[in-house]
């Protein structure tokens, strides 16, 4: 039976090549855009070099201080005081990485200007984030304690600073008029690794400010690595207990809020978060609405074309009905035919997205971003394909099944 449907579908597709082209064009381009978007979201959120442990990690990126009446709010990353005296005393996490945000400064080498980003980190940072060392190694606790003027640089920085292919170990990089000895070179992290990518990594003891004082606001971020995913709720619990012990005596700072979030939540909280909620649900809702609106137009277009095509076959339908085919059989047949068309369009769409992704990757629009079509992405696009096929097939099939036998047979011209 299915084989028959398949044969009919192919025959119909061959009959009106222009219509087939329009349908396939619409389906494949719609899917291409969806697949590329999914791949992009996937690269932003799923674990990859150097952040391979992401499913076991929680991120503390900001603390919020509010007044009792909530008419005064300030938020920023945490201070070193807060991180060092409270967060680093936590027991449940296996490792605690702390680092600052990226600070940009300039470097001048061989009459060229470079912009370099500096990040101050602790030693655990190198254990939580699995950087691949091209040369040398990370700084150790001894370097950190002695405030040794050493730096780990990225491979990109090495080739920009010392020239293509040159080795950097033991040489000096200069930033803010201070020379740092290079003790390690890591493979550059992609720009899509929002927290961990930087050009130069320094021990936090070299930071010129922010290490003293008891203010809670500062520029440090924390990554908590759990022993297993089962520990994540325990860490959240411990953190909320810990917050209660943090003194914040200043006026207008009566309420202290901060949450250890999963990677995705740490972004959605900033944009959609409300109170305790991380805003993840709203984020998915927005994506859903966008995808729906985006697919609406191509779907209506496809429905329109399908209705035209199906009416063209009214004589065939009339004959089948006259010989006793039920409406549901006809509807089933048409939906299957439409699915075959959609899946053909889907295959084209995947091929097109491979091309687009190849172009995007090789253009280096976002440095070191490596978009891929993996199983998740493929799964979602297959789902989109099926939904698309169903949505655009049901209405024409229903219209067709309503056809009156007599008019259908007569309408042939």
């Amino acid at each position: 039976m299915l084989k028959n449907y398949f044969k009919i579908a192919i025959a119909v597709l061959k009959r009106r090549k222009f219509f087939t082209f329009i349908s396939l064009f619409g389906i494949s381009l719609t899917l291409t855009i969806l697949i590329v978007l999914t791949a992009f979201l996937d690269v932003l959120t799923s674990p990859a070099y150097p952040d391979v442990n992401r499913s076991k990690e929680l991120f503390i990126n900001r603390i919020v201080l509010k007044s009792n009446k909530e008419n005064y709010t300030s938020q920023s990353p945490a201070s070193f005081y807060f991180v060092n005296n409270f967060v680093s005393k936590m027991k449940t996490p296996e490792k605690i990485a702390i680092h600052t945000g990226r600070n940009t400064t300039n470097a001048y080498q061989n009459n060229k200007k470079m912009e370099v980003e500096l990040m101050h980190t602790n030693v655990s940072f190198w254990e939580v984030y699995q950087f691949e060392f091209v040369e040398g190694k990370a700084f150790n606790a001894q370097d950190l304690e002695n405030a040794a003027q050493v730096a780990v640089i990225s491979a990109d920085t090495r080739s920009k600073y010392f020239g293509e292919g040159a080795l950097a170990l033991g040489k000096y990089v200069e930033a803010n008029n201070i020379k740092y000895r290079v003790i390690g070179v890591v493979k550059s992290a992609p720009a899509t690794m929002i927290y961990a990518n930087s050009d130069i990594y320094l021990p936090y003891t070299l930071a010129k400010s922010g290490l003293k004082g008891t203010s809670l606001m500062g520029e440090y971020m924390v990554t908590l690595l759990a022993r297993s995913t089962a520990d994540l709720p325990l860490i959240k619990e411990e953190y909320s207990q810990l917050l209660k012990k943090v003194p914040h005596p200043e006026k207008n700072q009566e309420i202290l809020l901060s949450y250890p979030d999963s990677y995705l939540e740490s972004f959605t909280r900033e944009i959609f978060g409300k109170g305790e909620g991380s805003g993840k649900d709203r984020f998915f809702l927005m994506i859903g609405i966008f995808v729906f609106l985006f697919m609406l137009l191509p779907t209506i277009n496809l429905v329109n074309i399908n209705v035209s095509r199906i009416m063209e076959r009214s004589s065939e339908i009339g004959v089948r009905k006259a010989f006793g085919a039920s409406s549901s059989t006809l509807v089933g047949q048409f939906i299957v035919e439409n699915m075959i068309l959609t899946i053909l369009g889907g295959i084209l769409g995947v091929l097109l997205s491979l091309l687009v992704i190849f172009v995007l990757n090789s253009s280096n629009l976002i440095s070191h971003m490596n978009l891929t079509i993996n199983l998740t992405v493929l799964g979602y696009s297959l789902l989109a394909c099926l939904v698309f096929g169903l949505m655009s097939g049901v209405y024409p099939a229903w219209r067709m099944s309503k056809l009156n036998v007599v008019t259908a047979l007569k309408a042939n011209n």
């Binding site: 219509f19 329009i22 400064t105 300039n106 200007k113 803010n176 008029n177 400010s209 137009l297 277009n301």
Partner: protein, 391 residues
């Protein structure tokens, strides 16, 4: 004729329902595209009010804690003298961190006789106007005579002046800012400093004084045309050795401007690509459906030709039908589109929406006519003998 066409479409409203809704949604997409385009283009055409070429912005970074205002003032003077001695530097001014095209903002509320205004505040010096080559509309910029005056003086831009004083005179009026009355001594051209695509907002320029000098960590430098990367490296070294800074950074305003503009243009380009693809898709769909409908009506067209209709009147009828169909969609679409200026969604001026709506209507008509022309021509080429014979 037109009435007849309306009747034809109305009789087949069920068949045409899908086509109408498709054109309707396309209209809404095109309306959004044109609203964005018109809005951004209008802002782009507005004068900037200053010149950013050959201007560098130096961010001194965090100057550390425990600095008292006297030592900051001394450091500023040392730095100024050191930089001024370089021949490539024409003029420089210390300023708050909200330099043009930066992401930094400092906003506050000022009032004049009970009328309030949210405005950007820029801390500047006497040389600021020269560095950015701003144009005065009336009054004067800060000068040495302000040092002696009892009241603090400030300068407002044209945009802020119009919102606060309307068409009246601003010079000499007292504005309440930072909890004290300050005197307006000058009006400059509107200051479009957020990006080329953002309309100017009210701006007030005040002088750096002992109250805020601790937070001043930026310098704007106007350099001569010959200043290159080597010279920039020299300036960097000079500043770094004159003061202790944690993150010294020199940026060119022209670079800041292009990266700021990208915040508008890149999302816009992505949106246009997606919208363009949708419209192309729809155009093909309309084309296909019209073509199919005409093939279905060969008999009718043949009959009309047989009783003397000319080729152009036949193709005219088909194009006319498509236009009437589009009109149905556009009437419904305009009903929705007109709600935007009426309800003042997104805070854009009504004229932007109306222009966009007009352009979108023209675009949709053109699109539909274009899609109908070829099928119409084909219909006109039908020979009555052949068409009627088929029956």
């Amino acid at each position: 004729m037109l009435k007849h066409l309306f009747k034809l479409i109305w009789n087949k409203k069920k068949e045409n329902f899908l086509l109408i809704s498709e054109v309707l949604i396309s209209f809404m997409v095109i309306f959004a595209v044109f609203t964005l385009l018109v809005h951004n283009y209008r802002n782009y055409k507005l004068p900037r009010g200053f010149d950013y070429e050959q201007v560098w912005s130096v961010s001194l970074g965090d100057l550390g804690e425990s600095k008292d205002k006297d030592s900051v003032g001394l450091m500023h003077e040392n730095l100024r003298n050191a930089l001024k001695s370089l021949p490539q530097i024409k003029e420089l001014s210390f300023t708050s961190s909200n330099v043009p095209f930066s992401s930094s903002m400092y906003r506050t509320r000022v009032s004049y006789k009970g009328k309030e205004l949210n405005t950007d505040i820029y801390r500047t010096e006497m040389s600021y106007k020269e560095v950015l080559q701003m144009q005065l509309v009336s009054g004067r910029w800060f000068s040495a005579e302000d040092n002696a005056s009892a009241k603090k003086s400030l300068i407002i831009d044209k945009c802020g002046k119009e919102q606060l004083f309307g068409s009246g005179e601003a010079i000499g009026k007292m504005i309440s800012l930072d909890g004290e009355e300050q005197k307006v001594i000058g009006v400059v051209e509107s200051f479009k400093d957020k990006s080329d695509f953002k309309a100017p907002e009210p701006a007030i320029f005040t002088r750096i004084d002992t109250g805020n000098i601790k937070n001043i960590a930026n310098i704007l430098i106007r350099v001569t045309a010959g200043a290159d990367a080597t010279f920039e490296g020299k300036v960097y070294k000079l500043i770094a050795s004159t003061m202790k800074s944690s993150n010294l950074e020199i940026k060119h305003l022209s670079d800041l401007r292009s990266s700021k503009n990208k915040e508008t243009t890149i999302p816009m380009i992505i949106f246009f690509i997606v919208a363009g693809f949708l419209i192309f898709n729809v155009a093909l769909g309309i084309f296909g459906v019209l073509w199919y409908n005409i093939n279905k009506r060969r008999g009718e067209i043949g009959l009309r030709r047989a009783i003397g209709a000319t080729a152009s009147s036949v193709s005219g009828q088909l194009v006319g039908e498509a236009v009437v169909l589009a009109t149905f969609s556009l009437i419904i679409g305009s009903f929705f589109a007109i709600q935007f200026p009426l309800l003042n969604v997104f805070d854009l001026p009504a004229s932007v929406y109306l222009t966009a709506q007009f352009l979108a209507i023209v675009f949709i008509y053109l699109l539909v006519i274009l899609c109908a022309l070829y099928p119409g021509k084909q219909a006109a080429a039908i020979y009555p003998a052949v068409a009627l014979h088929e029956e």
